[in-house]
């Protein structure tokens, strides 16, 4: 019997105007998203390789002297990702270039060709289309499942037969999910075909697995809206009223709550300003200066004199490294203080399943703020590797003082770091590592759990409401 209901539901949906419209809308949007992504990816890859090669070639020019490698300020750029196809995670707003030398780490900056003025919502990626358009379509399919049948009078007929109410509900749910799957899967197919046939975007097998996970996640997300639609439909007597309520709930969940984020984070946590950063840098500078005066780093730290008695290279190196360290600390604090309000606002907006879904798919695709954080950590780790490399190479040189410190005059006058050439091949180079699927799932586990919870709650609500539904 349940099969019959599913079958009927699908057939009825397939022939309706709303299905044709949704199919057209979904497919054209997915196709457009595919073309847009390919063009953008091509452009970004070009820019990325140009910048990265520039960086590497400048690095190779420094290999004539080890000290130059140590002092060279590298810039690592964020690599465009093929999985940004699924969700870009607002990456165009996030800092994408990391400037650092062995001794210093600066605040990552946003670089590139972006028009700050455009793009109010977010990017037209798959997750965006699914979270806005398909969730809307899910409501359009379900707003009259129960009350519409009541109005048409067919609900009585169904219930007159010897079938349990929960079976009807389940049958309708499965029927709508299957119908909804058609625009989703067809759209995805068109999108992926466009992306693959462009040959610019290479999707590895792990990526395929991740895309598959995101599709499953999308179904989980859409099912929330299907259940919500059925719940409201079985609470109201007229389909017009059910539509009104659903629309307003949809606007609240999908558009309004995500917009709260900014206000909440503005109100709760203040972002640090540039002036504060400058002030803290000055303070750090002053503190190190005072420490130096009180003799914390040893006698004559920072003195350069023709009289070798007055010079104290180890003390100077300690002093200078402490200064660098203090600056790095200030920069990192500043960065963290900027990230905290953003993540705070994000966690607040997790009241909305849309945000949950976006966060979860960002974690799985490896984009967004999570990726920024991991990239930053990787750059820092690379910085340490490079430092170790410099240390080991420096140890081989008997002429060097073996004091790792990037003070220009100290290197020139005393040779605190080796000035011997090194081979470019031995210098470690930065390479970004993606998280494995298991790890990304672990990041997303809370969001997925909450999505499932939403499903459960709405299912229970729909079930209870329908059991007590007045068929007259």
């Amino acid at each position: 019997m349940i099969r019959q209901i599913i079958y009927r539901e699908i057939l009825e949906n397939l022939l309706s105007l709303r299905f044709i419209l949704s199919l057209l809308l979904a497919i054209s949007l997915f196709a457009a998203a595919g073309f847009v992504f390919v063009a953008k990816y091509r452009q970004e890859s070009q820019d990325y390789w140009k910048d990265t090669n520039e960086n590497l070639s400048s690095l190779s020019e420094q290999t004539n002297r080890l000290c130059d490698v140590a002092r060279y300020r590298q810039t690592v750029y964020r690599k465009p990702k093929s999985l940004a196809l699924c969700t870009e995670g607002f990456e165009k707003y996030l800092p994408n270039s990391f400037r650092f030398s062995v001794f210093s780490m600066y605040i990552p900056q946003v670089r590139g060709r972006g028009n700050f003025d455009l793009g109010r919502f977010s990017d037209m990626d798959l997750v965006f289309i699914i979270s806005l358009i398909l969730s809307f379509i899910a409501l359009i399919f379900t707003y009259d499942t129960i009350c519409g049948e009541k109005e048409a009078g067919t609900l009585r007929l169904i219930l007159a037969a010897s079938i349990h109410r929960h079976k009807i509900l389940l049958g309708k749910y499965i029927g709508v999910m299957l119908t909804l799957g058609i625009p989703l899967l067809l759209g995805l197919l068109v999108n992926l075909l466009i992306v693959i046939s462009s040959r610019d975007v290479i999707i590895s097998s792990v990526d395929w697995l991740k895309i598959f996970t995101i599709v499953l996640l999308s179904l989980l997300y859409l099912s929330i809206f299907v259940l919500l639609g059925m719940f409201v439909s079985s609470r109201t007597a007229h389909s017009a009223n059910s539509m009104v309520i659903l629309l307003l709930v949809w606007v609240g969940l999908v558009i309004l709550i995500p917009s709260f984020g900014r206000i909440v984070s503005d109100a709760a946590r203040e972002s640090p300003t540039q002036a504060q950063l400058q002030r803290r840098l000055t303070e750090a500078d002053q503190k190190i200066r005072d420490d130096s005066r009180s003799g914390k780093f040893g006698r004559n730290a920072g003195m350069f004199s023709s009289d070798p008695e007055k010079c104290n290279p180890p003390a100077t190196a300690r002093w200078y490294n402490a200064l660098r360290e203090a600056y790095n600390q200030v920069y990192e604090d500043h960065l963290n203080k900027m990230i905290v309000p953003a993540t705070f606002g994000r966690s607040f907006t997790r009241l909305s399943p849309t945000v949950l879904y976006q966060c979860a798919s960002e974690s799985i695709a490896g984009t967004g703020i999570n990726r920024f954080n991991s990239l930053y950590q990787q750059v820092k780790r690379y910085q340490q590797d490079l430092k170790e490399y410099i240390r080991s190479k420096d140890a081989e040189d008997p002429e060097s003082l073996h004091l790792l410190c990037d003070h220009g005059q100290a290197i020139r006058d005393w040779g605190v770091i080796s000035k011997k050439p090194v081979s470019f091949d031995t210098v470690p180079k930065f390479r970004e590592r993606d998280l494995a699927l298991g790890q990304s799932l672990k990041l997303a586990i809370w969001d997925i759990g909450l999505l499932a919870l939403f499903n459960l709650v709405f299912f229970a609500a729909a079930f209870v409401s329908f059991l007590r539904y007045d068929v007259r």
């Binding site: 809308l25 847009v36 996030l94 307003l248 953003a342």
Partner: protein, 495 residues
Amino acid sequence: MIWKIAKKEFLLNLMTFKFAVGTIICVVLTAVFMPILAKDYQRRLEDYNENVAANEAELRKVKVYKNITPTAYRPPNVLSVFGEGLEKQLGQSARIELGGVSEISATSTGGNPFLSIFPTLDVTLILKVVMSILALLVAYNTISGEREQGTLKLILSGTIARYQVLLGKLLAGLVTLIVPVTSAFIMGLLILQYFPMVSLAGADWTRIGLMYLVSLIFISVMYNVGLLFSCLMRRASISLVLGLFAWVVFVVVIPNGSVYLANYLRPIEAKEKMDAQVRDLREQANNEIQDLTKTLRTGGNQGFAMGAFRGIFIVYCEKALMDDYKKEYTLSEPVKLKCADKIFEVQQQYLSGLMKQKHLARTIAQISPITLYESLMSALAGTDLASFEHFRNRVKLHTNEVIEYIRSETDNFSLPSYFTQCKEEDYEEGKKWDYDKLLEQSSPLNLQDLPRFSCGPERLTKALPRITTHILLLVFINAIFFTLSFVAFLKYDVR
């Protein structure tokens, strides 16, 4: 007869569930958001006042003309609570320097980039999303719903002409929708009045009045869209579904699609290219200055101190050196000024590239009345890109004023007062200088007549041409949709 129909329709609408829910939500949302937005504005205003005061305090400490490098701050816009536009995304301040261009970054480099992941929220958002849905909901069953109920037959069997029916319905719909819009505006303004720091000037009221008017026109466009589908379809539920699809296309698809199309049709240069150009220009100027001042010496018996705005000035120096400094500044400052002008040009060019792309995107997106409405609201609130350009131009003007002031006070940068407070009689050779005493003796300059920066919002009359064309366009779209529904209704099958 039109009146009778309008009255009946209006009374029917008032009693409906959708109207009640829509109005309540509109008012509640405004009541919830307005205090948050007003508080946010208040905080920004406090920051601004603090910054301006700090700037003024520094100005009072200036001891030599070279160190006059104040910062111009952009005052926050009160009306941003209605249409936030780009208010928070664009540069807030510009440092005015003699040699450098006052750098106003178009992107908010000073701000927090991570917060850009959240969409903006303001009254426009509430009106555009909630009200447009409400308009569709009110309109979708005006014709097809009456047909389903059978009342359309009864109406048309009277002597009334079809256009009268339609006009009556339009009138009733508009009157119905005016209620929530007006209550949202009144609610918002009342709450704003409650905040002591928010003060609305006369021009602001004109702008708010225009915003209200534009909101009404916009709502009537959305109503007409619903009416059109109602006249085209025989069943109310289908006209609702069609209307909602149109709404999604207007709200989500067109605004986003236009951005991509514009990006594709008119790609912009990377910002790095402009940065490189600026770097080259700076280097060129530096080389030129070095060439000019090759023969002058810079070392000698002299003492520096940190002055206002973290600028360096000379406390004492020997006579020969002072003459050299005088010559150096007379030669180098004009070069720096010229370089600054060139850099401004380059930045202007980059910005105009952005403007053109944005303009293209907006032009494409104007198929959607919702984008049109949004850009109108931000233009009226003074938070669109054109208003930002206004700020940029004001800063440029102010920079010129400051430079002119310094130039006239220091006789083209050639007087010693430009870089030091050493007196002529201190020039004697071989004199022993007492650094601390001299530093203590030096007194701040009297800068009462130095022009101060002020930047109100752009004058409404200046923004009027672009606002008027947009309003006319909105009215035009309105007329088109109504004509279409008129034609459709004339042919409507009443059975």
